[in-house]
Symmetry: C2
Subunit: 236 residues, 2 copies
């Protein structure tokens, strides 16, 4: 496998960073190629703006997705975006490794998504969901959070975690065509003992060792919808 | 009313920016006080980091939420965060105005959430949902997107928009105790005519004029859960 780990945590000694290091070691130990984008260490700029295009089709009015499409064609994407896009296209497996901030990714990682998943490559026109530009690649979301497991679920105070992760799992990763694996979740991390943390690391290592055989989550397929994206009548 | 509009769009001539201007004019025209945080114009830094604290409790290991709590007490929050927090606490009504990026807020706005909704003021301990630190304030999410309305809903290709917005509406805004109003949504904006855009602006103006009477969306209440946040048995 060719694996890209995108990591976003402001503390290099954090448990989330230990998860990144473990993933790197485990996957390399199995003979896979691994690249790491450590967004904090790279001082990654998360802000989508006009400066993301060396040359612009319309320098008077910014339509970001349009400039992305043209930037791809003309090779006009900013160097930091192109570099990340190259890594993403090289990889057959993506790991997003982060602490949950507001039931979502930290802003620095949201800005990797906003800027690197460019229109014209990752999506655009009818290239989305199972037809997305990154189909054939798989993605694992591995996250840490402060809450306890019983706070998530159908009757729980926050509802199911998968529902909170919907814009990421479905709206972003499945949208660009990737096979989205069940997230790996380390619960209540700031409050647990060293031994409990070691258990999460062991579980993560086991998960990583068999990640190539994981079954992805089911998401919509374009064949279930007509050309205007109205749902086709379900066969009974 | 005292209204804070937090606006995030990279193009000053955009329709989303026209919505911001309309909100400012409409609300001021009704005699309300309005402040605007234009995140792109302010060159807002969205990246939560150790630099967010003038002084740190633990300078060897960053626990972000912990430093927020202490930063609040000691007045050690970075000046840009304190300034936004002051505006937020001044306001009784918040408007988040943005284009939907990946079924979520643009990274620059996610970073406003990550950095400004500080622990110790907006949430912390048992201060969340109806007990949240910002209870009594109301919030309107007003957004533009490229998709058409029929692409969202129970059987639609993306599912209900409210489900995609869950980490924002429930996991963030309701979490800190705010009364969350039904979002205002302008559909398919990059592709529609001037006349259709004017209709959205008229609808938005009408909505703003009666925003003080809107009924908020229902969310969990802490009284439905025990002290460990397990759900209490439902009375039949």
């Amino acid at each position: 496998m060719k694996v890209l780990i995108v990591h976003a945590h402001p503390e290099p000694q954090s448990f989330t960073t230990a998860m990144r290091d473990l993933a790197l070691e485990t996957l390399q130990g199995q003979g896979h190629e691994v690249q790491v984008s450590d967004l904090y260490a790279m001082n990654w700029n998360p802000v989508a703006s006009a400066a993301d295009f060396v040359e612009r089709e319309n320098s008077d009015y910014l339509v970001y997705a349009l400039e992305q499409r043209l930037g791809v064609k003309k090779g006009c994407l900013a160097a930091d975006i192109q570099s990340e896009l190259d890594k993403l296209l090289w990889a057959d497996t993506l790991i997003l490794n982060f602490p949950l901030y507001w039931f979502s990714v930290p802003a620095i990682l949201k800005g990797w998504i906003d800027r690197v998943l460019v229109s014209g490559v990752c999506y655009g026109g009818k290239r989305f969901y199972d037809q997305g530009g990154l189909s054939g690649k798989r993605v694992l979301v591995s996250l840490t959070l402060g809450g306890r497991e019983h706070m998530f679920g159908d009757d729980a105070i926050h509802g199911p975690l998968e529902d909170m992760l919907r814009p990421l799992l479905r709206g972003t990763l499945a949208y660009v065509g990737m096979d989205v694996l069940q997230p790996f979740v380390a619960w209540h991390v700031p409050y647990i003992s060293h031994e409990e943390r070691q258990k999460f690391l062991s579980a993560y290592q086991q998960r990583l060792e068999t990640i190539g055989q994981d079954q992805p989550i089911e998401f919509p397929r374009l064949s279930q919808f007509d050309e205007f994206l109205y749902p086709l009548a379900q066969k009974s």
